[in-house]
Amino acid sequence: MKGRASILLSLGVLALGLVCAAATAHAQDPIVVGSKNFEESRLLAEMFAQLIEERTGLPVERRLNLAGTQVCFEALRTGAIDLYPEYTGTGLASILGEAPSGDAAATLARVRRVFLERWDLHWLAPLGFENAYELAVPRELAHREGLATISDLVRVAPHLDAAFGYEFAERPDGLPGLRQTYGLSFASVRRMQQALKYRAAAAGEAQVLDVYTTDGRLLTYDLVVLDDDRSFFPPYAAAPLVRGATLARHPQVAAALSLLAGALDEEGMRRLNLRLQEAGEEPAAVARDALAELGLVGRATEIAPETGKKESFAGYLWGRRARIGRHTLEHLALSGAGLALGALLAIPLGLALERRRRLAELVIRTVGVTQTVPSLALLAFMIPLLGVGRAPAIAALWIYSLFPMLRNTYTGVANADARAVESATALGMTPLQVLAKVRLPLAAPVIMAGVRTSAVLTVGTATLAAFIGAGGLGDPIVTGLQLADTRMILSGAVPAALLAIGVDLALAGVERLVAPRGVG
């Protein structure tokens, strides 16, 4: 046996650690562009990124798909990203928590002043279009009930089912404020993804939804937008929101982005959004086209790959193989790093607790509490501490991986063959020798089983890392959820499941290797 178990364990941990180090190594100081997890935000971020690359030559890193305003803003404030597209109304109502008031110019002036004073964040020149929240109803219903304004809706709303986005349902400039201002109440309110709301409306399962002015789907679904006759919704002018520190270091970034000032309108945005929403095109390709149309960059030389929905799933996966491969590697790096760091803490801690049995119960229970925190919440907790991207994701996965390994290590060494332990002690092994030569080798299979459990858990949880911009196989899942594109979801979910199975099988092999001969 000769400590083979411990050597293999430490080698494995080391290898995983290296993967982690390689994965988290940063390129030299790129401009980091973020976006929220919906199409228009991704598209604008991609346009910003390409424009900066084209006009300044600075390296740009993309952190798209961050989970909502809060995550994006925290990431910007803490310096995890340098800029992202934001809307003035959102800045006023959601971030500053102020009551919507005044026109577009007043709103812009207000957020500019406060953001600068409080956080040294700069609202650059608006892009020229507004993307406000609005309420929409099916055309047929509007005609039948004579609905033109939100005030008209109040009368019939108690008989209608509403479908609202998660953010809208919570934001002060969303449903809560709307209820107060108009006295609206619905038969039911369901919260769902943007794309699913349209499907629900088309299927007759929801009659009222929140929409964005520039939502491309307004062009294809037969909906009527109701007039906000009490001017509840603040103006939502889109603009780049940038860190002052970034502008000071790279003034050319502001110059490049100013080329987009006033360059876009609602109608144009709707068409661009539609290409993402319904045709399933890539933000990078659509952004390239849009910038080329504005004469800001040259036409893309390559033809965007045909993504018609008729090709087979296998063909679809084949077409995305490079991307799936990259996401898989990211995914492995994230989970591997989290697991390796977890093993580095959990296994030695489990061994140490064997000598402090009264403390062990308390420590293991405390660590067990981490398992009860929802994964997404844990990821969100990491943002104020570590920003967005890989570091907070790895930290969260690290915390998640601890419990199974800790519990199994402790149980394994504590319950190792009592008579063998007794005689080894009685014949003169030191406590450390008993641990290293008797308890650890006998516990090795139990410890490895814990590592396996943690590994599968970590690979699964890592799909959520995409919500805080860490990439991985969660990326197509999150995007696919936004677009209600099942194939895109599967292109992340299937490899993630296969990865979990593969990791489990591989570690089962290691488990057999470390199992001491003569036992079991």
Partner: protein, 272 residues
Amino acid sequence: MILIPFSMVRPTSSTRTRDTRDPALEARGVSMRFPDGTDALVSVDLAIRPGETVALVGESGSGKTTLLRTFNRMVEPTGGEIRIRGRPAVELDPIELRRHTGYVQQEGGLLPHWTVARNVELVLRLLGAGVGWPAERRRERAREMLELVGLPLERYGGRYPAELSGGQRQRVAFARALAADPEVILLDEPFGALDALTRLELERELGALFRDWEERLGKTLVLVTHDLGEAFRLADRVAVMRAGRLLRVGTPEELSEEPGDEYVAALLEVGA
């Protein structure tokens, strides 16, 4: 319970010269109270001469195993003193003490992930090459010891404990206890958990072996057993314990002729 024909009671070595050296092991007013308040030992006095075999007899909970474990400091008494060759045990390094004290427990306690040969070499490995146990000598010693307990190294040395019978495992445990040539050997129900036939066979063979060791090499043995017959067959003196107290110590003859205590008398009646 096995009936003991008197012919099987071993003759005491009354011819043996009285030993004036310090006792090999000595308990002086030893008490042991566990943290939960139960008394495992109450003021036990017992001196074991070098070269003597003493059996500690009593039912479970009588304190016999606890007393045995004070002799290699696996248990630290809460009162009184253990002396080893005249020196207070607390002055000895427990690890060193244990490496030089043989120990056999019920069911052997072999390391299941080590081969038979490696198990036998355990203490030699702990002592290390530095004090005269390089690998070749260890293996040679393991061969001798296994030969002694009737398990040729060539055939059994490479096996794992799980591949042996219960009796064979116990033989390996004896070989392991003897390998470093300790002067004192502690035996905790060494034939317990074996079927009756194996038990008798092992007792006869290893008993003879021990007698040989004891008489030829002057080893001191302490045997814990709940089997009075076994104690009478193997020991020079028998110490009867009950509820943490030492009731009576004497040769089998002395005990048979004059139990001196109701419990001991009752025990003898049941046992013999």
